[in-house]
């Protein structure tokens, strides 16, 4: 066991190298994006579900929407407070949230997720 020092030195270098990205970026976290609501979204006050639910679960909800619309021809969404909505990403979601760049993209870029919804669904149904 004459190599103890070499091993410890090697370990220190290894741990330093492997943790480099963490301490190099310490305190430099990008600020959470600010989302902009359109006037229409502000006026509506509530989304199809509560804001907390939408923040955490909009992807699961959209998955339910796409499955039920395409595969079961169910297009009507009844929200907890009894309001009816047409289950459509382009025509219902983006009707209110017509500012995709400030509302959807900012968060998606921040979280580094790139959903391919927009390859088919047209992102600004109002043509603004």
């Amino acid at each position: 066991m004459k190599d103890k020092n070499k091993i410890i030195a090697g370990l220190v270098v290894f741990i330093a190298a492997i943790t480099f990205p963490f301490w190099f970026n310490l305190g430099k976290a990008a600020p959470a994006p600010e989302l902009v609501l359109t006037a229409k979204a502000k006026a509506a006050k509530t989304c199809v579900m509560s804001t907390e639910f939408m923040k955490a679960n909009h992807m699961q909800l959209l998955d339910v929407w796409r499955h039920n619309v395409v595969r079961r021809s169910e297009r009507m969404f009844v929200s907890p407070d009894g309001k009816l909505y047409d289950m459509s990403l382009s025509n219902t979601c983006l009707d209110c949230h017509s500012n995709k760049a400030e509302f959807c993209d900012r968060c998606h870029d921040y979280a580094s997720v790139s959903p391919y919804c927009w390859d088919c669904h047209i992102d600004n149904p109002k043509g603004e």
């Binding site: 929407w65 499955h67 907890p80 391919y116 047209i122």
Partner: protein, 261 residues
Amino acid sequence: MKNSRRRFLQIAGVSALGLGAKPVLNAFASGGAEGPGYHVAKGEDARSAKQWAMVIDTRKLQTAEALEPIIEACNKIHNIPTGIENKNHEIKWIWETHYHNAFTDKASSFLDEAVENRPFLLLCNHCENPPCVRACPTKATFKNENGIVMMDFHRCIGCRFCMAACPFGARSFNFRDPRPFIKETNKEFPTRMKGVVEKCNFCAERLAVGKQPACVEASNGAIAFGDLYDEHSEVRELLKENYTIRRKQTLGTEPAVYYIV
């Protein structure tokens, strides 16, 4: 019983599997459409049938000009790319062809000239026994409870087995991004992307809100649409009174598009 190291690892492994399986099972179990406080349903105006069917009265559609507005209506509302120069890349939902190409098993040598020279409107037959559905490995093509053979573009992997299986050439593959070829985008309906197969959907999105398919609306009464298994439907009335033919009937796919000649 003496505990060996092997025995301990076996028990640990099975226990870990049990713990790990719970969230996975939960994820699978949450397939229903009932969520926290919400539920989904069909619209009140939604039209339903056992098997939607179409009867095309070709006597009222004698010329290519008569077919144009019908094809145009479909192309426009479904964002179908037109004007792709390469014929192999064309996207067709509803199109016209010559009698001999439409009814390959019916062509005799000496035909009624009026019928032989008539243009025929072709579209997906929404077969009662669709071979494309059997061929699709991902169930992206499926038959819904209305008898419409539907495409789920979210699931299509572009393998084109369905195209090989379809004896009617009713399916088109997007070899390229269709968006540059759509003259006027209808913002209500999605476009498709490169790498998926697409086809006529009998305007499932219009039936869901109580409307007729676009081609039926644009045909000025030359095309009828209704439930094949409803004795009093418009299509059944027409089938009772007229001699009709179907495409490639001998294959047994039971096409749901009938032609009055």
